[in-house]
Amino acid sequence: MTGQTSSRTEIPVLSVRDLEVTFPTPDGDVQAVRGMGWDVYEGEVLAIAGESGSGKSVSVMAAMGLLPATAQVKGSIAYRGRDVLAMSNKDLERLRGSSISMVFQDPMTSLNPVMAVGAQIAEGVRIHQQVNSRSARSKAVDLLDLVGIPNASQRVDSYPHELSGGMRQRAMIAMAIANDPDLLIADEPTTALDVTIQAQVIDVLERAREATGSALVIITHDLGVVARIAHRILVMYAGRAAETGMADEVFERPSHPYTAGLLGSIPRLDAPKGTRLMPIDGAPPSMLAPPPGCAFAPRCPRATPLCSQEIPELRPIGNQQSACHHGEDQYNEAEDV
């Protein structure tokens, strides 16, 4: 807990404020992100959790300036105090891959099929560092070694199709940390992998983060992943933050019914015997026309008339922050259990 309070005095590596992202479509504007903010501090692991379409990926893509040109972005995204949204293309290119780098969801499609993995890692090194091809190559071997690829000096010449999914994801991680980034963003890094190797890849990510001392933002819908490595968690729903706080505290005492619902819908070893899994009824709202009040209200067991009229703002409850009109009730109920 001391780490949490002391970190608040530092300047965050990345700071997102009042972010709104809208995609115009023939059917109307899709409001993918509807006003949210988060900070990530040096050496910290932040998990952004939420279901498909909640705006998790879009908010980090915006941070890297990788949104499609049609996207309309409002708010501010600051990397060490510099406004990313105002950067020129040249500055963005310099930022990407060296200061902020990214691990993508599907290692099957995120590696160039006609380049050897070593060459792709070396390419990343040579974009940002003045080194010759020989030392870039040996750097690639070292990186492959670091992420736990056996026989790295031979694997460096393998093509992506010659590697398994887990190996490819390790190679992606090696690429991402090639230039000692300050911030590593992992967009659903384990979703496309077999359950048996998900844990390994998470460990590799954690090791990679330690080796570079970078901050890690991990986007996931898998709360098991969050529980494994995240320090802090941000739960998103329908383009807004539902709840944020220290991961273990949020798991212990969720202060938003949505978080409680998510936790109730996954099996837990520490749950009392005979506990039934509780699915969340209904489906996420259409982002073309989100409900006027709390977006979760139509599915929420605690919903009152107030919820469908007024959008709840994020406010502190205990050590956490919750965007729920009934956050205290939820928080206190969790204590009773």
Partner: protein, 302 residues
């Protein structure tokens, strides 16, 4: 430790080091027997064309006293009405056709892939402007345009052969640009392109390192087609009296000249024709092999 042969330990790292991408490509190409055979024939035929004169004693400009004779030990491919040795002429024609088509295909392929990739990557106005140029080149009746340009080269003298080749090349890139543009539209949406962007790769790097290599199989197939097209175009020009001028010969001009004699003096038509067919076939087979070799996904299990 002492039991391990030193050579093995010392050799291992350097062998790994040496296994570069191009060696892998070469290895895969060599596994493609037909392509290797075609490549050998192609290279051998090209080199042999230089040996024709010393071997037979006849140059392509020489006029022998033997007129209109069939193939014999002295004139392997026979002679024409004024006594040209057809073997010497065919070999000269082979060389000229290879030179012209390589220059044409080279220019067209480089221009077509780069401009097509630029169109597909930048889209918008760049795509629109280049697209107009491509459309213009595609609707242009190529033969008349080349004839006009051919007349000008004849008037100015000079080395018209390469000039014609360059001109044909400058006109033939448009279809390839369109193919590559289409490919790039699909490749650009792939995650590895986004990953490359996330790595900080510049537009130039993405175009040359990621987009064009991934479109390589189409490009190579198209390049080989262009070689064939170039030979045929040059043939048509030669037939109409443009481009290559006597005494220079090409396979095209030989076939055209021998066409009327196909039924009476078959060797004037069929022998240069056979050389032409073999040449184009070999180019196509080599293209096939290259496509397989350059695309690691096509690697056959052995």
């Amino acid at each position: 430790m002492a039991d391990v042969p030193v050579g093995i330990l010392a050799g291992t790292p350097s062998q790994t080091e040496a296994r570069s991408q191009w060696q892998l490509v070469l290895r895969r190409f060599l596994a493609h027997r037909l392509a290797v055979a075609a490549g050998v024939v192609l290279v051998a035929a090209y080199l042999f064309s230089y040996l024709a004169e010393p071997l037979t004693g006849w140059g392509y400009k020489d006029l022998s006293p033997d007129l209109s004779q069939g193939p014999s030990g002295d004139h392997w491919f026979g002679t024409d009405t004024i006594g040209h040795d057809m073997f010497a002429q065919s070999m000269r024609g082979l060389r000229v056709s290879v030179h012209v088509s390589v220059v044409v295909a080279g220019i067209a392929t480089v221009l077509g892939s780069v401009l097509g990739a630029v169109q597909g990557w930048f889209r918008g106005r760049v795509d629109g402007a280049l697209g107009l140029l491509v459309d213009f080149l595609l609707i242009l009746p190529l033969l008349p345009v080349l004839m006009v340009l051919g007349t000008r080269t004849r008037a100015s003298g000079g080395s018209s052969l390469m000039f014609v080749a360059v001109i044909i090349g400058l006109f033939l890139w448009a279809p390839l640009a369109r193919v590559v543009r289409g490919e790039v539209f699909s490749i650009r949406e792939k995650e590895y392109i986004e990953a490359a962007e996330a790595l900080g790769a510049s537009n130039t790097r993405i175009i040359f390192r990621h987009l064009i290599p991934n479109a390589m199989s189409s490009i190579i197939v198209y390049a080989t087609l262009t070689v064939a097209t170039a030979i045929l175009l040059e043939t048509a020009l030669a037939f109409l009296g443009f481009g290559i001028q006597p005494p220079e010969v090409s396979l095209g001009s030989l076939v055209d000249e021998g066409r009327d004699a196909a039924r009476t003096r078959w060797w004037l038509f069929y022998l240069p024709g056979a050389v032409l067919v073999v040449l184009v076939l070999c180019v196509n087979f080599v293209g096939d092999g290259l496509r397989d070799a350059l695309d690691p996904r096509r690697e056959q299990r052995r």
